[in-house]
Structures are given as structure tokens and as C-alpha cells.
Symmetry: C2
Subunit: 400 residues, 2 copies
């Protein structure tokens, strides 16, 4: 058995970002920039007003001064002339500060007067002016490589005149569920069988991490058929198998994968749930075999598949996003395995409280579905009391 940290490191070892592709700005959300993005212009493109008001010479800006209004400068319609002494130009937020002007009188501080306006409160030179290039300058990097794009980045790229963005292509993931006893919902149930949706659930998890998925038809526990099938999936970046990862007599997957040419890296991790995880490589393809238990399958998906999909998009590895919380119920000592307890979260004035569910059956899907977080217990952690500080990771933070 190896540690989770070592297992995660091995899964990501030597994984290079996939090729780049070009997408329209309207399809860029959630994609990962292949390269840094540089601004194609200055923003603002010129000195502009940050307020609605009047542009004038600061020397004319004392309270009580009267000014003639010689034109207007709405956003998008610069005033072409030059502002002289005793003159001003009506200006609006985003309007270019006209030549000659070096101050903005906000409209709240102006009153109408014969032939123009009168200043009611003195201006400060330069105030309410956004300088050319203050937000970003031509050729300056506005987005770093490997950034996952949000609405803020989309707006920023648009303002910097990028209708297209170069992103990493989506990793292609083949998802293969095994096991004679599992039927997809709505299908005929084999005798003694159960319904299960690890395949669709892991596809959903992979998609939310940025992958394209193909859900393969479930395959019976037939070693030769399995070997032939997995050998024909070379066009996928990742092959994810579900089930058959443990050592029971009926677990053929590992054997079939090796038969098909997979170089096995490891297959046991000191964690619970999820101990029997297969990992290896078949040429450039990464192969992950998660256990058939639905809770373990999804947890392994979150801890191994998701970071792998991210790495293939160029996102650097990051530690598990742990948060401290106070324990809401006592816990016994832990054994040698890293333990992921299903827990609910609440908050009081002193902060976050994590309460492990009373039943920690790794087959309990309804408990898993209603948990907010995983409470992470180190190997050999001593008993813990209510109020002790523990580490949790929110389900949502790891795609669950």
C-alpha cells in the first residue's frame, strides 16, 4: 500500500498538457488558457473621465467660477477641440478628456448659470480621470497561461480585443464499467443484480473537470473480451475502468489491463474508502481503475481522475483544498489508512463545524449524497473530541 500523496504524485508524473485548440470567446468559459494572453490595446485607450460631469482646466476649478460649456464628450464621441480658459465640456463616464483639460468637475458640484455652469465645490487636478493604459497596456499579459477562464476573464479578453482564445483541448476519457451484476437503470436486472450508475456519474465528474467522455457499453466479466476491448481504446487520453479493482476471485480487470499491455504502476492505496485503485499506463494513455463501490468509485474519481484531467489541460497540481473546522461529534482512533469520513457542515459564531455522519458505511450512497464534506483523518490519528480542530474538504471543491 502506498500513501495517497504518493499515489497522486505518481498519477501526475510525466503528464504533459495536451495540444492547444482555438475556441470562440463565447465558448471559453471553463476552458484553460494554453498560453498567456496579452492585451492588444491600451485600456483606457486615452485619459477618460471616471464620472459624469464637466472637463475643464484645473486652474479654472475654484468654487464660484463660471464656465462656458463649449461642447460635449460622451463615451465614444470625443470632443475635437481644445478647452481654453473659462471653458468646459460636458463629459460622461468613459468619455475622452479633451485636449486642454486636466480636471473633472462632477455634475453634483455644478449648477446651471447664465451661458454655462457655476462650480459649487473646487476640483482637484487629475481626480476622476482614468489614465490611458491604467487598467492594461498593449502587449502586457492580462491572463496567465493555465488559467481556467471565468466570466471575468471573458470580459477582460473582450476588452483587450480577443475574439478567440487558445486553450488546451479537452482530455478524452473512455469510461468502462465492468461487472456482471450491475445494470444501468431502466435495463433488465440480472438475477441477484443491482442497478448502478458509476459510469454516468464518473462521466459527469470528468466533464465538470473539463473532459470529453465516452461511456462504453458495460462489459461482462470475461477476461478475453475485456483484454480485446481495452486494447482498442488507444485514441483516448484516459481509460477509466470501474469495478474489478480488488483481489476477489471475480476481479478480472487488472489482469485484463496488463494482458492488453498496461504497465501497472500501483494498485493499493492506504486510504478508506478506495483502497483498491489500479493505476498504470498504456503507451501515452493513463489508465485508472476505480473500485465498483459507488462511494469509493466517485471518491477515487475526485482524487485521481479529476487532477489528471486538470493536469492534461495544463493546470498545475494543487494540494487537496483542506479547511479547518471544529469537530461536531467524537471520533475514535484511526487505523493505518487515511480516512475520508462523510460529514455535514454547519457554522456558528466561532466558525465552521464538521459533524461526521453516524454511519460510515462505504456502500451508503444516500449518506454520501447528503454529506457536505469529507472529514480527512490522518493515518493513526488519536481519538478526537467535540471541538477539536479537524480538516475537511467540501464535496463541491473536488467536483462531487
Amino acid at each position: 500500500m502506498i500513501s495517497l500523496a504518493e499515489a497522486q504524485t505518481r498519477v501526475l508524473a510525466g503528464v504533459a498538457p495536451l495540444d492547444a485548440e482555438t475556441v470562440a470567446l463565447t465558448h471559453a468559459q471553463g476552458r484553460v488558457c494554453a498560453f498567456g494572453v496579452a492585451a492588444r490595446l491600451d485600456q483606457p485607450p486615452a485619459d477618460v473621465s471616471a464620472m459624469d460631469g464637466y472637463a475643464l482646466r484645473a486652474a479654472d476649478g475654484a468654487a464660484g467660477t463660471r464656465l462656458r460649456v463649449i461642447g460635449g464628450a460622451p463615451a465614444g464621441h470625443p470632443f475635437e477641440g481644445v478647452i481654453g480658459t473659462g471653458e468646459c465640456v460636458r463629459i460622461f463616464t468613459g468619455g475622452v478628456v479633451p485636449a486642454g483639460a486636466d480636471a473633472i468637475l462632477i455634475q453634483e458640484n455644478a449648477i446651471a448659470a447664465a451661458g454655462g455652469i457655476e462650480i459649487t465645490e473646487a476640483v482637484q487636478p487629475g481626480r476622476h480621470i482614468r489614465r490611458k493604459g491604467q487598467d492594461f497596456a498593449t502587449n502586457g499579459e492580462i491572463i496567465a497561461a493555465s488559467t481556467r477562464l471565468t466570466p471575468r476573464h471573458i470580459a477582460l479578453c473582450a476588452s483587450a480585443n480577443h475574439p478567440w482564445l487558445t486553450v488546451r483541448r479537452r482530455p478524452r476519457v473512455a469510461v468502462l464499467a465492468t461487472g456482471d451484476e450491475i445494470a444501468l437503470p431502466g435495463e433488465p436486472l440480472p438475477p441477484g443484480g443491482i442497478y448502478g450508475g458509476n459510469g454516468p456519474a464518473l462521466c459527469a465528474l470528468a466533464q465538470s473537470a473539463g473532459a470529453e467522455t465516452v461511456l462504453l457499453p458495460p462489459i461482462l466479466d470475461d477476461a478475453a473480451a475485456l483484454t480485446a476491448l481495452v486494447g482498442s481504446l488507444g485514441q483516448f487520453d484516459i481509460l477509466l475502468t470501474i469495478g474489478g479493482a480488488s483481489v476477489g476471485d471475480h476481479d478480472l480487470v487488472q489482469q485484463a489491463l496488463i494482458e492488453a499491455g498496461m504497465k501497472l504502476d500501483f494498485w493499493k492505496i492506504a486510504m478508506r474508502p478506495g483502497k483498491p485503485l489500479i493505476f498504470g499506463r498504456m503507451g501515452r494513455q493513463s489508465v485508472i481503475g476505480v473500485p465498483g463501490n459507488p462511494v469509493a468509485a466517485l471518491l477515487c474519481g475526485a482524487l485521481f481522475l479529476r487532477p489528471l484531467i486538470e493536469a492534461m489541460q495544463g493546470i498545475p497540481p494543487s494540494p487537496l483544498p483542506l479547511e479547518p473546522a471544529r469537530l461536531g461529534a467524537p471520533l475514535g482512533a484511526n487505523d493505518v489508512r487515511l480516512d475520508f469520513l462523510r460529514a455535514t457542515l454547519s457554522r456558528d459564531a466561532a466558525g465552521l463545524i464538521a459533524t461526521p455522519l453516524s454511519r460510515q458505511d462505504s456502500a451508503a450512497q444516500s449518506d454520501f449524497a447528503r454529506a457536505d464534506a469529507l472529514l480527512v483523518r490522518a493515518p493513526l490519528a488519536p481519538p478526537a473530541q467535540v471541538g477539536d480542530t479537524v480538516q475537511v474538504v467540501r464535496m463541491r471543491e473536488i467536483g462531487l
Copy 2:
């Protein structure tokens, strides 16, 4: 000016969830359940083993006892006979506990012996047996109405035999950017104009909240054309306009919306950025007009459009997901408006630290893009020192 809380309440007042639609389980991620989902079977369907090992009568379970192995019970292949005294059946995780058996001997506690096995450690009656219906029972609710579906729910619904799910249809949002001076990237730039992508960015935000979006061609600042256009968009659940929400001479949007039949609810909120926000209704359509400033536009999208899209999917309103943090740089007193300062987050042993960016220009898109969170300051908050507790909301938590 009204408070943010009042504005949010008014936007959601009287909003009913949209109609339901049926989607395949493989397309259910991120969708919101219209009704509670009930299990269609018991899980486990019978008492099953939680471990690989041997099923036997507890009365035969003392250490040193030898048992004959009379058959096997892998998952999906129940043993048809009855276990008698001195007998056991090889069983695997998920295998049905055969008739007559009431204990599981885990395989680590069995050694091969003449004609069968020998027990090396006594069994405990009932241990390692998952009881029929323990996870969920027929007709029991497994997912509550208004739950947004994650991979965990997809797996759970599959196990409960649901190939289809009934979810709220996606709200349809029309996004209309106004303003003569704004061009989409790659388009010809009008004289004095700037590039902008508020439309694509707000579409991305709306999509991530669950909406379908239509990005309308930008429209010039022409009151009659605007009125005619907005009057023709009745098929959308939400009309989102961008720009023209303030009181400058060149802001025609509010006027055009009212002309087209919108009942104005409010248009000024005591917050920064984002003060000039239009909200009203046109028949059953909700109309939100966000300011043209890209930072304010996205923030208003996150604070008003996003909750509205969620409400239309049946998600109950929730308060802003605030988290406490320690202040990383001093702040002056706040004025009468609720302030959303752009901040970066870091963490030390004592917890989260929020450091406001030194420049808080609401037009600074590059600063907005690199911020991790918004530091929320109450109206009239007094000056704050490094280390004081402040409230933050992570960008990611509100779709930014």
C-alpha cells in the same frame, strides 16, 4: 436608493419555478430536481456481505472450527441452497447472504484446511452484513425537490433505478448590450470607442447558473429601435440589458424599457460598484438592466441575475455565502453604500486572510480578474485595522 437585501428580495418576489422537463440521467448534472425523487427498490436488495470471505452460521463461528465450503455467492450470483451446521459458502462483497447464514467470516480470518477452511478468529453475528434497504428503501425519498444534481446524485438515482429525471427547464435569458461606443472584439472599432464583452461574459455567468442564453446583436443608442426590440422579446423569461442604466444624458435604456411596457420596480441600490441597476417586470418577464461598467455589470449579474435564474429553477433564495477572514491591509471608514472591495485571499495557521487590492477603481478589469474574493463592507463601517475580522465572498461562490 434601496439596500442590496431589499433589492434582492424584490427581484425574487413572486418568481415561481418554471415548468418541468425530463432529461436523461447522463444529462442531469447541474440541473435542478423539480420534485423529490423516490427509490424504486430496496438497496441493498437483500442482506449482502460487506466483505470478501465466507457466509456461515454464527453458532459455527468460534476460532478453530473447520467448515465445509458448499458453494459460492459472488455479487450477482446468489447461492440457492441453505447453509447447515458445519457448512459455509464462499462470498464476495455485495453477494447475497445465503439462507441459513447469519455471520460473515472475512477471508483474512480463514485458512485452508482439509475439505474446507478453518476459522482463525471468531466471527461476530451480523457483522459485515449490510441489511436489506439499509441504504434506501422502496418509495423512500432519496433526493429532495430543488436539489441541484451532482455526480453523487446521479449515481444514487441510477442505483434507485431512475434512467430519467424530472428537472426544471432552463430559464431563457436574452442578453442585450447597448451603447454606441462598445464593439465586440475583432469588430471594427468606432471612433473613440472601446472593445467590450459584457454580453458574452454575462451569458457565461447565466449559463453557469443553469440558463439558456441568447446574445442579441448590440444595439445603437436609439430610443425607438430599443423600444421596438425589447417589446419583441416576450418569449424570454429574463431580459438582461447592459449599459444605459445611469442618469447621464445618453442613457436611454430605462426610458425605452418603460416605453415598451416595463413596470419599473427600482433602479438605484446603495452598493458600490453597481449603484445604477434597473429592475422591473414586463408581463411575466423579469427585466434586469445592469450598468455598462464591466466590473459593475458582472457583480450585478452575480447578485441579481444569478439568484433569479436559480429561483426560476426552484432553488430557494440563500444569503450571500459570506466567510469570515482577517483583514490584511487597513481600510478607511465606509460611506453610506454597501461596498464590495476586490481582495486576494491567503491562509496562515490562524485562518483566512483577505487583503483588499490597493486600487479599487470599479473600471479596473485586470484587478477584478485577479481578485479571489469580494470583501463586503457594511454601510458606514468604521475604519478597520490589519487583523480585524471582515466578511468575504469568494468570486467562485457567486459564479464569477
